[in-house]
C-alpha cells in the first residue's frame, strides 16, 4: 500500500554517524541480525569504510512495525556525502520524499551537510533534523539544536536527539519518519516511469540499476526502454534490497529496488535516466538526467613505462562503476604515456588515484590538477582547454575564461579573518557572511575553481586547524588574466611542468618550479639552464652547474669489489633517469617537483 511507504535519504557530514545510524535502523527493523552485521554495512567499498565516506548511493528496504499496529515499508536511499558527488546526491534526492539531516551533537552543522540540505529543500523534501552522538561527553545538544533550527528555520524542539551508538532516541526517530514524512504519490495505471538513481557493474550479472518507481508498474520480463539512451532491453530480473538482493515479481509506484537487463556496458546506462515500458510507454522522461561533467583534470602516468597497458585496463575497470570518470590517452615528453583524466572534483580524483594504486597495484605520477578553461582565439574559435598543452599560442589568443565556483565555508567564527585573507589571496570575491550561532559562521565566496583545486582546501584546513568545512558548486565562467607558464630544461619545454596560472601568480610559480628543479636535477656534463617562461619571455632562471668531479680517488687491488659495488649503485641510479632532451632527470624529480606545497 503506497500510503505505508516512506522513502528517505540520510544527509550527514563525514563522521557524523550516518552509517552507524543506517546500521541501527537496519537492526531495529530486523532487516539483518546483529551477528551478520558488518560494521557500517552501507559503505561497501573498502575505501568507503576506511574513509568513512559514501561514494556510491545504496538503497535498502526495511519493514517497520509501528506502535499503531501498522507495518510500514521504509526505503533508505543512501547518498554520497561529498561535494564532488553532488550529481549523485541530487539523483538520490529525486528518489525520495524526505531526508534525515544528521548532525553531530559535538560538532554542529558543516558546509557539505548544509549544501546537501539546501538541495533537499529545493527538491521539496520534508526534512527531519536529527542530532546524533548525544552520548558523547563533548556533546552540546542545546547549542547544536539551535544551530540546526536556525539553518532550517524551524524550532529546536523539532530536532530529534539520538545516539546511534547506544540506540537512544531510535523509537522517536522511527515514529517521526512514519508521521512526519509524506508517503509517495503515483498511480499504478499510469505509464511506467522509473528513475535510475545509481548503477553498478557486477562481473556476473552485468549492469545493475537502482531504480525508484514514480509511476506505473515494472514487472519481471517487461520490455523496457531507457529513455535517454533509447535502449530497449528485457527486464530479466526485478527486485528489492533488504539489503541483500531479493527478486520480486514486480515493483509499484513509490517503491525502490533494482533491475537487471543483461546490459554489459556501463556507458549504456545513465544515472538520472528514466526507464519506461515498451508496451505502455511514457511520453516524457523524468527531469534529472545530466551528463556528469568533470571539473578537475589531471594527467596520470605510470612511474614504470611498462605499466601503461595495466593502467588502461585498470581505468576501464574503474569506469564500469564510475561513469563520471573520464580519460583519454596523453603523451608527455617527460612522463611518457599516460592518461588525461577528468574528475568530478579533488576528492574524486584522490579516490580514483588511490583505488588505482591500491586495487591495481600501480605506481602513478599525477600532474598538477587543472580545470577546464575556455580559450577564445583571435580567429573567433572557442577551445576547451583541459591541459596547459591545449592552450593556443599567445599570438592567436584573444582571451581566456576560467570557471568560478560558489564556495561556502563554515567555520568557528574566530577564523573569519584568516579565511578572508586566504580567500582574497586566491582572488576570492566575498558574498554573504552569516552567523549560524555566535560561535559559527558561514562565509560565501566566488572563487576561481583553479585556485580551489590547486591548494585552497589544504590551506583552509591548515589555517583553521581543520575546523572549517567547505563546499562549492559551479557558478560561471569569467574572463581572467591567465597565462601559461612553461618550464624549460636546457631550453626545451617540459610539458609536465607547464601550468595555466593567473598573471599575478606566474612569477611565483616560475620561481618556485625553477628553484625546486635546480635542487632535484643532478649535475650533468654541461650547464643546464632551467627557465620559466611566458611565451618567449623568461620570467625566472636557475642553472644546474656542470658536474666537475665524479671519480673515486683511490682504486687499487683491495678496492676493486667495493668500487664495483659503488659503480653498480650509480648505474642503477642512471637507469632510473629519464632523458628530457639531452638532460638526465631522475623519475623522482618529476614526482617531487609536482608535489604542491602550501607555500607554493
Amino acid at each position: 500500500m503506497i500510503s505505508h511507504i516512506r522513502n528517505f535519504s540520510i544527509i550527514a557530514h563525514i563522521d557524523h554517524g550516518k552509517s552507524t545510524l543506517a546500521d541501527r535502523l537496519l537492526e531495529r527493523t530486523g532487516a539483518i541480525s546483529e551477528r551478520d552485521m558488518k560494521e557500517q554495512l552501507l559503505d561497501s567499498m573498502d575505501l568507503e569504510r576506511e574513509r568513512g565516506i559514501t561514494i556510491k548511493a545504496q538503497a535498502v528496504r526495511l519493514s517497520y512495525d509501528a506502535p499503531d499496529g501498522q507495518q510500514y515499508e521504509l526505503n533508505i536511499i543512501d547518498t554520497p556525502g561529498h561535494v564532488d558527488f553532488t550529481y549523485e546526491v541530487s539523483r538520490s534526492l529525486d528518489a525520495v520524499e524526505g531526508a534525515l539531516l544528521v548532525v553531530d551533537a559535538s560538532q554542529g552543522v558543516e558546509a557539505q551537510t548544509l549544501a546537501n540540505t539546501y538541495m533537499a529543500i529545493e527538491a521539496g523534501l520534508e526534512i527531519i533534523p536529527v542530532m546524533n552522538k548525544i552520548d558523547l561527553p563533548a556533546a552540546e545538544p542545546e547549542r547544536v539544536a539551535k544551530e540546526i533550527a536556525g539553518v532550517l528555520g524551524g524550532s529546536s524542539d523539532e530536532v530529534i536527539a539520538i545516539s546511534a551508538k547506544t540506540g537512544e532516541g531510535m523509537d522517536e526517530l522511527l515514529e517521526a519518519i512514519v508521521t512526519r514524512l509524506p508517503p509517495p504519490e503515483g498511480l499504478e495505471a499510469d505509464p511506467l516511469r522509473a528513475l535510475i538513481f545509481d548503477s553498478y557493474f557486477d562481473t556476473y550479472r552485468g549492469v545493475v540499476c537502482y531504480i525508484r518507481i514514480k509511476d506505473g508498474v515494472l514487472s519481471k520480463g517487461d520490455r523496457v526502454r531507457f529513455m535517454a539512451t533509447n535502449n530497449v532491453e528485457n527486464a530479466d530480473e526485478v527486485g528489492i534490497l533488504t539489503p541483500a538482493a531479493v527478486p520480486v515479481a514486480s515493483l509499484g509506484p513509490g517503491e525502490s529496488g533494482y533491475i537487471i537487463t543483461g546490459i554489459k556496458e556501463i556507458d549504456r546506462v545513465r544515472v538520472g535516466d528514466t526507464v519506461t515500458r515498451v508496451d505502455h510507454p511514457a511520453t516524457t522522461a523524468l527531469p534529472g538526467y545530466k551528463e556528469p561533467k568533470p571539473m578537475v583534470y589531471s594527467g596520470l602516468f605510470p612511474t614504470v613505462g611498462d605499466d601503461f597497458e595495466r593502467l588502461r585496463d585498470a581505468l576501464e575497470k574503474l569506469r564500469l562503476n564510475d561513469s563520471a570518470l573520464q580519460y583519454e590517452p596523453e603523451t608527455s615528453t617527460a612522463l611518457g604515456f599516460g592518461f588525461r583524466c577528468g574528475f568530478l572534483g579533488l576528492l574524486h580524483m584522490e579516490i580514483v588515484r588511490e583505488r588505482l594504486e591500491r586495487e591495481f597495484d600501480l605506481d602513478l605520477v599525477a600532474t598538477a590538477p587543472s580545470v577546464a578553461y575556455r580559450a577564445f582565439t583571435t580567429a573567433g574559435a572557442t577551445i576547451e582547454v583541459r591541459s596547459p598543452q591545449d592552450l593556443p599560442a599567445a599570438n592567436q589568443l584573444d582571451h581566456i575564461d576560467e570557471p568560478f565556483v560558489k564556495v561556502m565555508i563554515i567555520s568557528p567564527s574566530e577564523y573569519v579573518g584568516t579565511i578572508m585573507e586566504l580567500a582574497q589571496s586566491k582572488r576570492g570575491e566575498m558574498g554573504e557572511l552569516t552567523y549560524l550561532s555566535p560561535e559559527r559562521v558561514e562565509i560565501d565566496y566566488e572563487l576561481p575553481l583553479g585556485e580551489v583545486v590547486f591548494d585552497f582546501f589544504d590551506a583552509l584546513k591548515s589555517r583553521t586547524r581543520g575546523y572549517a568545512s567547505l563546499d562549492y558548486e559551479p557558478s560561471e565562467y569569467r574572463t581572467s588574466n591567465l597565462v601559461r607558464v612553461d618550464v624549460l630544461l636546457n631550453n626545451q619545454p617540459v610539458d609536465a611542468f607547464s601550468a595555466i596560472v593567473h598573471k599575478d601568480r606566474a612569477y611565483n610559480y616560475g620561481n618556485t618550479m625553477t628553484r625546486r628543479l635546480r635542487e632535484l636535477i643532478p649535475r650533468q656534463l654541461f650547464d643546464v639552464p632551467i627557465q620559466a617562461a611566458i611565451g618567449g619571455r623568461i620570467i625566472a632562471r636557475e642553472t644546474v652547474k656542470a658536474k666537475r668531479k665524479d671519480v673515486t680517488a683511490k682504486c687499487y687491488g683491495g678496492d676493486i669489489s667495493r668500487k664495483r659495488k659503488l659503480l653498480e649503485k650509480q648505474k642503477e641510479g642512471k637507469k632510473r633517469m629519464k632523458m628530457v632532451g639531452s638532460v638526465e632527470v631522475p623519475q623522482e624529480a618529476f614526482v617531487s617537483a609536482l608535489q604542491i606545497d602550501q607555500d607554493g
Binding site: 665524479d550 676493486i560 669489489s561 637507469k575
Partner: protein, 386 residues
C-alpha cells in the same frame, strides 16, 4: 698520454703476477683512513709476521712474482720485513726484475732502515707525505714535518733504490689553492720518480666522517676539481706523466704492482684484510687482527670471502668484461677498442660523452679525456650494458 711506450707498459702488466703483503700496525689511526689498520697493538708484531710467513708458506705456488707491494698500515714502523720478502721468494720465487715496494712514513725513516730494506730486496719506497703544509698535515692527523719528507726521500735516493714515490692528499677544507701549489712545488724539489695525488675522500665509518656528520666542513668537490687540474698542469709541466686517475710518474717509473690491478691481472694476498685475485676469483682475508692470527695459528684459512668475476648466466654478458673496462678506463691509456668498448661508444650514453668531450677513440683505444669524470663514464658504460 697515449704514448706508445706507456701502452706497452700498461698492457704487459696484465700478464704479471703481483703479491700484496699487509702490515696493519700504526702509531695512531689517521682520521680519514678506512684501511685495515690497528693502533696500540705493536706487542703483536712478531706474532703477526710469523702468521703471515705461515700463510705464505702454506700458499699454492702459481709462478714467479713480478711485483710485490708491502702496504699497511705503516710497514716502515716494523722490523723483520726482510723475513716476509724472503718467505715469498722462497715459496713463489721473484722475477729477476721484480718490483718490490714498501709503504713508509717519513717520520720512521732512517739511513739504517734504508740500508736494511734495500738489502732485503726492496726496490721502491712510497712515502705517505700527504702535504708540505703544516696546517694540512695537522688536519690529516699526520705526525711528520715537511723537512722529514725531504730527508726521507734523500735517504732513499742515496741508498740506491730504483724508485721513490710520494703520496699527496689535496682538497682538505684547511687547504687553499696557493697552499696546494706550494706543496706541489716542494714535492717537485724533492724530485721523486713517482707522485700520487689523491682528493681527500670522506669514507664511511672514519673519524673524519663522524666530524663531517657532526657539522665540520666537508671537502668541496668543485674545489677539489680545481686542485686536481692544478696538479695535472704542474706535474705534467715538470715531466711527470699521468698514467692513472691519481698517479703520475717519470716514464718507466710507473708502479708495476698497481698496473696489474688496473689490467685485471692476478695477485696473491697475505695478511689481515688483504685482497687477492686468482683464476677469476677475487678473495679477501679477515679484517680483524685477532681473527686473522687465530685462524692462521689454528692452521685454517684466514679467507673471509670470495666472489667469482664470471657470471653464471651467459645471457647476462660477462662481468669479467665489465670489470676489465671499468678498471682499465682509470688509466690514461684507456682500454683497447674491442667489441665491448666500441658498443659503448656507439650507445646513446657513449655518444653524449663523446660530444661532451669526455671520452674519445685514439689509436685503437677508448680513452677518457676528463679523468675527473671517470665514474660518470664507468657507470654510463655499465648502464649501457644492461
Amino acid at each position: 698520454m697515449g704514448d706508445a711506450d706507456l701502452v706497452q707498459i700498461v698492457e704487459r702488466a696484465a700478464d704479471d703476477l703481483g703479491a700484496y703483503l699487509h702490515v696493519p700496525f700504526c702509531e695512531a689511526v689517521c682520521p680519514y683512513c678506512d684501511f685495515a689498520v690497528v693502533a696500540g697493538r705493536d706487542d703483536e708484531v712478531s706474532r703477526y709476521l710469523k702468521a703471515v710467513t705461515a700463510e705464505i708458506n702454506g700458499s699454492d705456488a702459481v709462478g714467479l712474482v713480478d711485483a710485490v707491494f708491502v702496504g699497511g698500515g705503516t710497514p716502515s714502523r716494523v722490523s723483520g720485513l726482510a723475513g716476509l720478502v724472503g718467505a715469498l721468494e722462497e715459496r713463489h720465487g721473484l722475477a729477476p726484475d721484480a718490483e718490490v715496494t714498501l709503504e713508509a712514513n717519513p717520520e720512521d725513516w732512517t739511513d739504517g732502515k734504508a740500508e736494511e730494506l734495500r738489502t732485503a730486496g726492496f726496490t721502491r719506497v712510497s712515502f705517505g707525505a700527504q702535504s708540505y703544509d703544516p696546517m694540512v698535515l695537522e688536519y690529516l692527523g699526520r705526525r711528520h714535518s715537511p723537512n722529514q719528507i725531504d730527508a726521507a726521500v734523500d735517504s732513499v735516493r742515496r741508498t740506491g733504490f730504483e724508485s721513490v714515490s710520494i703520496d699527496l692528499i689535496f682538497g682538505s677544507p684547511v687547504e687553499s689553492d696557493a697552499s696546494w701549489e706550494r706543496t706541489l712545488g716542494r714535492a717537485l724539489e724533492a724530485s721523486p720518480d713517482h707522485v700520487s695525488t689523491y682528493a681527500l675522500t670522506v669514507e664511511r665509518g672514519t673519524e673524519l666522517s663522524r666530524l663531517v656528520i657532526g657539522g665540520a666542513p666537508a671537502p668541496d668537490p668543485d674545489v677539489q676539481a680545481g686542485r686536481y687540474e692544478i696538479a695535472q698542469a704542474i706535474l705534467q709541466d715538470a715531466g711527470y706523466r699521468r698514467y692513472e686517475v691519481s698517479n703520475y710518474a717519470r716514464p718507466g717509473h710507473e708502479c708495476r704492482y698497481n698496473l696489474i690491478a688496473w689490467a685485471q691481472g692476478e695477485y696473491l694476498a697475505f695478511g689481515m684484510g688483504a685482497h687477492g685475485h686468482l683464476d677469476g676469483v677475487r678473495f679477501r682475508n679477515v679484517r680483524k687482527l685477532d681473527a686473522y692470527l687465530d685462524a692462521v695459528e689454528r692452521g685454517v684459512s684466514p679467507r673471509a670471502g670470495q666472489e667469482s668475476i664470471m657470471t653464471g648466466d651467459p645471457g647476462l654478458g660477462n662481468a669479467l668484461d665489465e670489470e676489465r673496462v671499468v678498471l682499465g678506463l682509470r688509466r690514461s691509456s684507456g682500454v683497447v677498442l674491442d667489441d665491448v668498448a666500441t658498443a659503448f661508444m656507439a650507445s646513446s650514453a657513449g655518444i653524449r660523452l663523446v660530444e661532451a668531450g669526455v671520452i674519445t677513440a685514439r689509436e685503437g683505444r677508448l680513452v677518457i679525456l676528463k679523468p675527473l669524470l671517470t665514474d660518470e663514464v664507468c657507470s654510463s658504460f655499465l648502464a649501457s650494458r644492461s
